[in-house]
Symmetry: C3
Subunit: 363 residues, 3 copies
Amino acid sequence: MADPEFILNAWHVGALSHEVEAEALFPRRLLDRPVLFYRRERDGTPVAMLDRCPHRFAFLSKGRRSGDDIECIYHGLRFGPDGRCTRSPYQDSPPPGAAVEIFPVVERHRMIWIWMGDPAQADPATIPDHSHMDREDMRPLLWHVQFAGNWQLGNDNLMELSHLFWLHTSSIGGWKPDAGATPGEVYSARSADGKVFSRTLVPDITRPGVFDNNIPAGQAYDQWTATVWEAPANMRVTMGAVPAGDDPASLRQPYMEQTHCITPETAGSSHYFSGFTRTFELDRDAEGDRRFVEFFRGIFEREDGPMMEDIELQMASHDLFAHHPLVLPRDRGAVLARRMVAQRLAGEQAARGNAQPEPALAG
Amino acid sequence: MADPEFILNAWHVGALSHEVEAEALFPRRLLDRPVLFYRRERDGTPVAMLDRCPHRFAFLSKGRRSGDDIECIYHGLRFGPDGRCTRSPYQDSPPPGAAVEIFPVVERHRMIWIWMGDPAQADPATIPDHSHMDREDMRPLLWHVQFAGNWQLGNDNLMELSHLFWLHTSSIGGWKPDAGATPGEVYSARSADGKVFSRTLVPDITRPGVFDNNIPAGQAYDQWTATVWEAPANMRVTMGAVPAGDDPASLRQPYMEQTHCITPETAGSSHYFSGFTRTFELDRDAEGDRRFVEFFRGIFEREDGPMMEDIELQMASHDLFAHHPLVLPRDRGAVLARRMVAQRLAGEQAARGNAQPEPALAG
Amino acid sequence: MADPEFILNAWHVGALSHEVEAEALFPRRLLDRPVLFYRRERDGTPVAMLDRCPHRFAFLSKGRRSGDDIECIYHGLRFGPDGRCTRSPYQDSPPPGAAVEIFPVVERHRMIWIWMGDPAQADPATIPDHSHMDREDMRPLLWHVQFAGNWQLGNDNLMELSHLFWLHTSSIGGWKPDAGATPGEVYSARSADGKVFSRTLVPDITRPGVFDNNIPAGQAYDQWTATVWEAPANMRVTMGAVPAGDDPASLRQPYMEQTHCITPETAGSSHYFSGFTRTFELDRDAEGDRRFVEFFRGIFEREDGPMMEDIELQMASHDLFAHHPLVLPRDRGAVLARRMVAQRLAGEQAARGNAQPEPALAG
Ligand code: FES
Ligand code: FES
Ligand code: FES
């Protein structure tokens, strides 16, 4: 049996709230299984259903809604939001036990979270905190992109923010004449309570013109960044700035809070849900906000995405440590996250070892 | 060794008669091997040759004809319709034993049937009966399409004609307001003599405007459909209609007789040879007939083909039963066919077990 | 472990001299590993470096030059032409031992030769002789093409030049009315000193208008071709012509000397470096020479390349002999080369058997 690639017993972001419209059947591949999302008519609460009819495996997302039931396009079986078959044509009642798999879902922080492991363990209290996304006054923005690489490359990328000064030199990272010479930088990373906390202080930066950070243009500042990571791939990144040389403790409010959640599509491709809230330029209209999203999406699509796709090509397996990578001081946060993921994967594999074998149907 | 995917000792349709023109070298991949079809000059009888030169494996179909011999384009070897090498440049006579594999072929019912298993077992008497295709007066029409799915999905699709009322709702199946409520429908399926016979009576249908069935437009009718299936994937479907409520036995003549033959291209892609004869609209000209073909080909390409390709994606293996599908009453015919195929595949595998190993050359 | 596909302890052509420009970072996949070529600032001597940063595996070829160092685009590590890490940001000095793999290279005969096996065995004296490419007065021309087939198909193709009369009938080979009847042709092949020498005399040819061979147009001539092959896939082909019937010994000078070197890109795709020097039409200008290159490149791309790609499709493994091919008299040279390659591959595999296992990182 191959090494497991996915953490099953965890909440993953399946979709952003705005992606699943009221009437729609919204299909998405997650953890290499096909999932159908839709919303109940009465109250709009989301449903997540295996996107495969148990009869002959048509995609249910290509079927039709009949109220809150989904009717398969191939031979007309209907399934309700609890997964049970509600009508089988040519029979007085559906075959006993006929059902499609349903996944627990919770809509929270403008995202739809899905649990694809053992449903008995699905506790909404363990959904990572992205409550800043509930702050209307901070203008929450969220978007979805994809990359053709393993989901853990997203952790690696975001837990090693020093790449801002190289990969993003020409976009959001062009702040220092020679980033390699970095007197005064402070970096720390530690793990606790199943989380990784990392912190960077970069002193004496000159701001690019991209976005405001509450420091007047042209004035040097000290930038600090704090990241909280939770498995499988949830990150909250808080960014603050004070005039160069000021006591960081004098900061009253970070200027930006970012959300980064990555969900495997397959072992070699990923969904990336990204966004932020802010304290600056709050008077932008919807079109102005849209331009923010396009700007950041563009950076990802030109810089981070291709980089992760390159690395996917370069790695024969997805186990970083098997490749004996060079380890640098700034890798500490990324390495702590990699280790926690490895532990979770091994733990789930051991637990499955005592349970029934996997079903023959891969989907 | 992987499970066998193809029944070798059987007649498969390799090509439609009209596809192989008098002068042409016609290549087609069948059962995952390259085959070259061509016609002898004298009487046009077809030849089927492995489409690979035994020297350095060029496709012979890219060569040239020299009478009934095929000359390889790469270094000029020539092979006759019996497979034997007839000339080797730079030698007085061809190397003893030099030959390319020849497959038994029979042209019958406007199709060229090929036998790719043990030639000693190739008995033309076992070619399935599609003799209605010989009836010029019934305007035989045949065409070829392909789908990116395992050939057995074609059996599943055609042996479960209830899909007419869902998948084909907007084309040929839009006949009933709620197909799921079906009082009076009668369905039966049984196997005998290595065949599966299924029969459906659907009462009180209103005809779509697509084609005539000898019932006046606007008049309700009872439709019956009888299917005869033979391994590997040959079906003859007879369709008849009587005014609603009449005794089916009063039917003097079915209005349509369909031919459906599926031949594997590879394990995951298939050739589908389809056609019909009819008793209606016999005065159509060639252009009118061409429109019939385009209409049915279009339905396949928009509806059945994509469905089978979806299911191919959804199935990790081609063994339906390993996926524990939901089984419905209307599946009886399809399940009987699946079982017969499984038996044939297992039988051939067992027979090979006692024989020599497979050659190193896959093609 | 799969059969080895590449001879590691050998000089392969990695690039043509003109492909690697002074300032450029030139990436190329060779023997299924990513290689970065560039030139030192001071004297332009070439460097070949594994094109993968040892930190998180970014392609170094996407980085930046800093003098003769390469700076990784992802997190800024720098590596010198000896492979050693020269700067790690956020550290006073690079981690001890941090380095990227460097491959021995030699620039000779207008090509950059690379050694990807054990560096201790890399002896420039064993680079095959293509010194005719150093003769400015013979107007050396070299170009690069690729084909989607195993590299040994290039040996097979070029060691069996009889294909000129079939595959190239409509381009450079259209010389004889019926090439299959060949009175007077003489062919021989023998191996010695790890080389294969083959020789063909084709009498009484009429020249196509393509290029001059020092025989007046319209006059029949006898053509002789001598090939020297060296592993892995280096060939030098000398072509001469005398008026038909003359003593071949009367030839004062061959009219053309060809270079053919093939280097694996992956097991199923290859780089082909090809070129020639000549004694005719020496007064062509650069544009005239460019048209020569385009002409030969075009023949390859329409005729030889597709043929090798066909054969790649037809062969389940790359071991020709496992397919029990028909062997013809003219195959002698190709078969001798195949055998020498098989011996070298087996020898290297045996040597590795006693050494450490392959690293986990495939690249
Ligand atoms: S596949 Fe869904 S009803 Fe048959
Ligand atoms: S490959 Fe056919 S003659 Fe050589
Ligand atoms: S991948 Fe090159 S420095 Fe990190």
